[in-house]
């Protein structure tokens, strides 16, 4: 994944300021009311309180276990709860820090509300100054250079360069203008030059920045569907072990063994899935945060999960698969024409051409053909700009007229009937079209010189990314307005699985519906108002921040960088979130095996010394075995916080390979790690004479 956008304005994972706040929050989160949403940790807290009571009782009345033992158990049980709270608080920390920055930009701004919104003349800019909070939907405000845009809206008049760094973190200004797909402005951003009239489209308190603050802060965080399902599983496991431990008291009585409550609840807490229970919400928050770091805002956690499930990616050709502009890649001279001559004419005729295509012709002539740029000032050249009627452009130098343009137009210019053109020329034109390129003819006066091959350049590395997506089981579909022939050529070159040529917004919508009916989840990105229905229909719709208000509201994610390629990263982040959840659940459950081997022999050693055979770790004493298991159970939460926050490493390979890898690391690792960990802790506990 690109680190470009991630490095920007970000706090490190373990920023000291965040850690401090998190430590305080962890204590605040001890409130049973706050913990009720997390049943596993709630049970742990209840049990911790119970053991604390038993400890106090043994301290005062001298009954039950030794105070040192129950005191230590109580302490570590509280640590277990605190560590879980801490994990969540750390995950929330970065979001909170960012929300604070956003809040600063939201501080009450003054707005210039126009008295006569319909006034079109510059002279009619009569306004009253009001607070941004008083603006209502439909009001029209004037924003001039240096002003903060008071709220979200659409430009109805004017054009301005706007600094949107408050939202995107990108300080380079963007152009916003009335009409078209770049008319939306966001409250909290600054107009740098010129002026605009903005029609307000959001109620106060419900602006983009307001929603963004709520999202990054996690204030509106609700459990996502999958998180909910996993919580149910964890509650089920907790109940299961509750039954096992409660009934054990009776079996112990039958066996004439007394098992203290402290020991029984220690067994309970080590068996219930505290590891994943403690880290579950941190994983979810961190997943959202990872998106935010990629400058993508998801309006719900559900969307992030859906991203992991995506089967089909709809990608716009221009800007995503190919560079936005066609580039000259080759000169093809007619028979009998010198290639250098063609390159030179192409270069001169493009000198005044400021379009990216024109500049790419100059660059090609200079770099690949070594043509120097001639100094024409003395010859008083006349620039012939491109016109839609002639579809030609060029330059007149003295008597000679140099031209380049659409093949038909140039042929007309030189006065050559189509059937008299050299067959080689025809073939080259066909070849370029077939390859998805655009041929430009070049001529001087009445002689045709040759062709410039303008190529739709596929972004480097994109083919590999599509191959990786394919390995993950994701189908890529290219959307383009090109004709099917051209589309097919580019599709082949870019390595997409399918394409939709001459696509209208309705085509997109229908394609998404068709895929969904076939049981596939679809992700797409878009920016225009006409993309809105498709964005709303897609399971994951990423709207570009530069896009229209309609598009931004239709999608369930907004990309602040407006980089359509990011759709791929969004999918990967979704997958990583789910994988982290699954891997840590597996780890947590697999841990139980070792804990049984630690605690069971310790429980009944007094009555049945023979059960010592199960003490495969050779833990030094029953008390140290139990204490070590409880300590391991608490410490493992802290050790796994970095993994929960950064996510397990993701590789774009098929599901079978992923499962094998994660099962090996977290399944097998989860079986083995606690054997080692508990043994080590036991050695320390024994060395320190803690038990």
């Amino acid at each position: 994944m690109s680190r470009k956008s991630e490095s920007r304005h970000q706090l490190s994972l373990f920023d000291p300021a965040i850690m401090r706040t998190a430590a305080i929050d962890a204590v605040k989160k001890l409130s049973p009311h706050a913990l009720a949403a997390n049943p596993v940790i709630f049970v742990t807290e209840t049990v911790a309180a119970l053991v604390t009571f038993l400890w106090l009782r043994s301290l005062w009345l001298g009954r039950g276990d030794s105070p040192s033992f129950s005191g230590q158990i109580a302490l570590w049980l509280w640590f277990t709860v605190l560590f879980a709270n801490f994990a969540e608080a750390v995950a929330e920390g970065r979001g909170k820090a960012r929300a604070a920055t956003l809040r600063a930009s939201r501080s009450d701004t003054l707005a210039k509300r126009l008295v006569d919104p319909e006034g079109r003349s510059h002279l009619d800019r009569v306004y009253s100054t009001v607070s941004a909070r008083q603006l209502r939907v439909g009001d029209v405000v004037l924003v001039e250079a240096g002003d903060l845009i008071p709220s979200d809206g659409d430009i109805i008049d004017g054009m301005a360069s706007v600094n949107e760094s408050a939202i995107t973190g990108e300080s380079a200004p963007v152009i916003r203008e009335a009409g078209g797909d770049r008319c939306a402005v966001t409250g909290g951003t600054t107009v740098l030059s010129d002026w605009i009239k903005v029609r307000i489209s959001a109620q106060p308190g419900n602006t983009f920045i307001d929603r963004m603050i709520a999202l990054v802060e996690g204030a509106e965080r609700q459990k996502t569907p999958n998180e909910l399902a996993l919580s149910v599983l964890l509650v089920g496991l907790t109940l299961m072990f509750l039954i096992a431990v409660v009934t054990l008291w009776s079996f112990a009585t039958y066996s004439h063994t007394t098992v203290s409550v402290t020991v029984l609840v220690s067994l309970l807490v080590t068996l219930i899935p505290t590891t994943i229970g403690g880290l579950l919400s941190a994983i979810g928050i961190a997943g959202m945060d990872r998106l935010v770091r990629f400058n993508v805002l998801a309006t719900s956690g559900r969307a992030v999960e859906a991203a992991g499930d995506v089967d089909t990616l709809l990608l716009d050709k221009t800007g995503t698969i190919t560079f936005g502009n066609r580039m000259a890649s080759e000169f093809i001279a007619l028979p009998g024409v010198e290639l250098r001559k063609l390159a030179e004419v192409a270069l001169i005729s493009s000198l005044a051409d400021e379009t990216p295509e024109g500049r790419s012709i100059i660059a090609l002539a200079k770099t690949d053909y070594g043509i120097a740029e001639p100094d024409l000032t003395a010859k008083s050249p006349v620039v012939i700009p491109f016109a839609a009627q002639t579809r030609l452009s060029g330059i007149d130098i003295g008597e000679s007229r140099l031209r380049k343009g659409a093949v038909d137009s140039v042929l007309k210019f030189v006065g050559l009937p189509a059937d008299q053109v050299a067959p080689e020329f025809r073939q080259s034109v066909d070849r370029i079209s077939r390859m998805g390129g655009t041929p430009l003819a070049v001529a001087v006066d009445h002689s045709l010189l040759g062709l410039i091959y303008l190529k739709d350049v596929v972004k480097p590395g994109i083919k590999e990314r599509f191959a990786a997506l394919r390995a993950m089981g994701i189908k890529t579909v290219m959307i383009t307005g090109d004709n099917p022939l051209t589309a097919a050529a580019i599709a082949t070159e870019a390595g997409v699985d399918d394409f939709l040529a001459e696509a209208t917004p309705e085509d997109k919508l229908n394609f998404i519906r068709k895929e969904q009916t076939g049981g596939r989840l679809v992700a797409m990105c878009g920016d225009g108002t006409n993309d809105a229905p498709a964005l709303a229909q897609a399971d994951v719709g990423v709207a570009m921040q530069t896009g229209t208000q309609a598009a931004r509201e239709a999608g369930n994610m907004v990309d602040l960088d407006s980089d359509p390629t990011k759709l791929i990263e969004v999918v990967e982040i979704g997958k990583q979130l789910l994988m982290t959840r699954g891997s840590l659940t597996t780890f947590s459950i697999a841990n139980d095996v070792a804990k049984y081997f630690a605690i069971l022999p310790a429980l009944f050693l007094a009555t049945y010394p023979e059960l010592g055979a199960l003490n495969v770790m050779r833990l030094s004493s029953p008390q140290s075995a139990i204490l070590s298991a409880v300590i391991f159970n608490a410490v493992i939460i802290v050790l796994l916080i970095p993994l929960a926050l950064s996510g397990v490493s993701y590789r774009p390979v098929g599901a079978a390979a992923l499962l094998r890898r994660n099962l090996l690391i977290y399944g097998l690792g989860g079986l083995i790690a606690p054997f080692v960990g508990i043994k080590v802790i036991d050695l320390v506990v024994t060395a320190l004479h803690l038990s």
Binding site: A229, S255, G582, S583, L611, A613, Y650, L659
Partner: protein
Amino acid sequence: MTLVGWLQIGLILGLVALTARPLGLYMARVFSGERTLLSPLLGSTERIFYWLAGVEPDHEQGWLAYTSSMLVFSATGFASLYAILRLQAYLPFNPRHFANIPPDLAFNTAISFLTNTNWQAYSGETSMSNFTQMAGLTVHNFLSAATGVALAIAVTRAFARHNAATLGNFWVDITRATLYVFLPFSLLIAVTFIATGVPQTLAGSVDAVTLEGARQVIALGPVASQEAIKQFGTNGGGFFNANAAHPFENPNALANLLQIWALLAVPFGLLVTFGKMVGSEKQGWALFKIAGLVLVGAVVIVYAAESFGNPLLTHLGLDPSGGNMEGKETRFGIALSSLYAVATTATSCGGVNAMMDSFAPLGGLVPMFLMQLGLITPGGVGSGLYGLIVFAIITVFIGGLMVGRTPEFLGKKIESREVKLAILAVLILPLAILGFSAVAAVLPSALASLGNNGPHGLSEILYAYTSAAGNNGSAFAGLNANTPWWNVTTGIAMVLGRFGYVVPVMAMAGSIAAKKKVQASLGTLPTDGGLFVGLMIGVILIVGGLQFLPALALGPMVEHFLMLAGKTF
């Protein structure tokens, strides 16, 4: 362990594997309503039944209607069986004039046969009339098996369909299961049993004078017919108290082979049926491997434990090479007794050809553990399949997340509702087994029934509730279960294990059937490969088994270590 022993085990298991596919595909045809070999013979009978009952065979039911039909059917079955048991003295075919069955035992027995448990707190040859055996118990051997299969088929359909509101018609499914599967095969098996020497008569008993001149009453009856469905429907309720250890139920090695094959055939065959009906035979075989591997692993442990013998006896001068033959029939030996013990507890059969109480501690632990896993390897007829599906869902839920997708099984998204219902079902077993055992372990009136004290006594308690809640019905023996406490509590455990389990499972099936089918891709967790097989076995052992470990540690495990240490108690 001997080579011959392994060959015997291999032969029988091989036979089961060989017949699974044809039997499974046949059942898939039967429940899809397709024509089979028996259609010309039974088609009209089937239609007459529907006509008589006013059932529209094409009218399908949603999960609630299907489950309600099943519950009504079972309640009616309970009432009629309870009545027969309470009134058998007044009913015909009672040549030995057995009295009416007391209420608590009648309750327990009716529940037991209704739930396919066939826990027998009575001794058949000294309390049940031929009428009760035939019109009561044997009938329910068929119906409880057919009910299990019908439910499993309904759950299977949930995965085969998409956006569906119905799961089939309960009445049609039990009719087909009985007519096309259980009756014809039982007939064949019964005839084969008769050929091996199993009695089939309406005579009550014969009197014989032994060599010592003593008079002996030798109980007889329609044994072969009950024996056939007892095995083929994984019922396990024997005609005689000694069950398949009795020479009239299981006279020789051939009969024994047939017995074990018959009790494994349908549970394994249904896994193939599942694969076929959901459109992926490979998926069925994956479940087959999961169940098969656990079963084989269990056989290895039990056979090893029994062959190892008892060091305490070795100490007293007994040749350890003979292994532990206590409670075993010499005509079966250790290998076939071990295989029978595992097969009968890995399914919900519960018949025995040796006394589990006399098994080595580990030899007794494994059957108990197999039942605690939920009787899913491969489990009872039908109940095993839907139990396996519940675990497949839990496995997929954990494994699916690990590949970075929200979990799905056979194209169906597994969401909160499915997990909730699956967990609800899975919780029933620990609740019933550990809950009742915990009370019994400290209740003097319950403890009075124990034949042993110490860890072995605890094993007896645990085994009884495990067997009841798992709807297995095998007995550890050594426990006098015919007391009001045991009759009532094991009865409740049986109800919980059957209906408390299957109602949430059916609700889950209803919600799964209504889902759309998601297309599989390379990114989808493959659920038919070796990796999934391993993962699911791990989940079954850890999620399904671990919670029983503390209790087992105080029972058979400590017994094992005490035995190794040369201690008695």
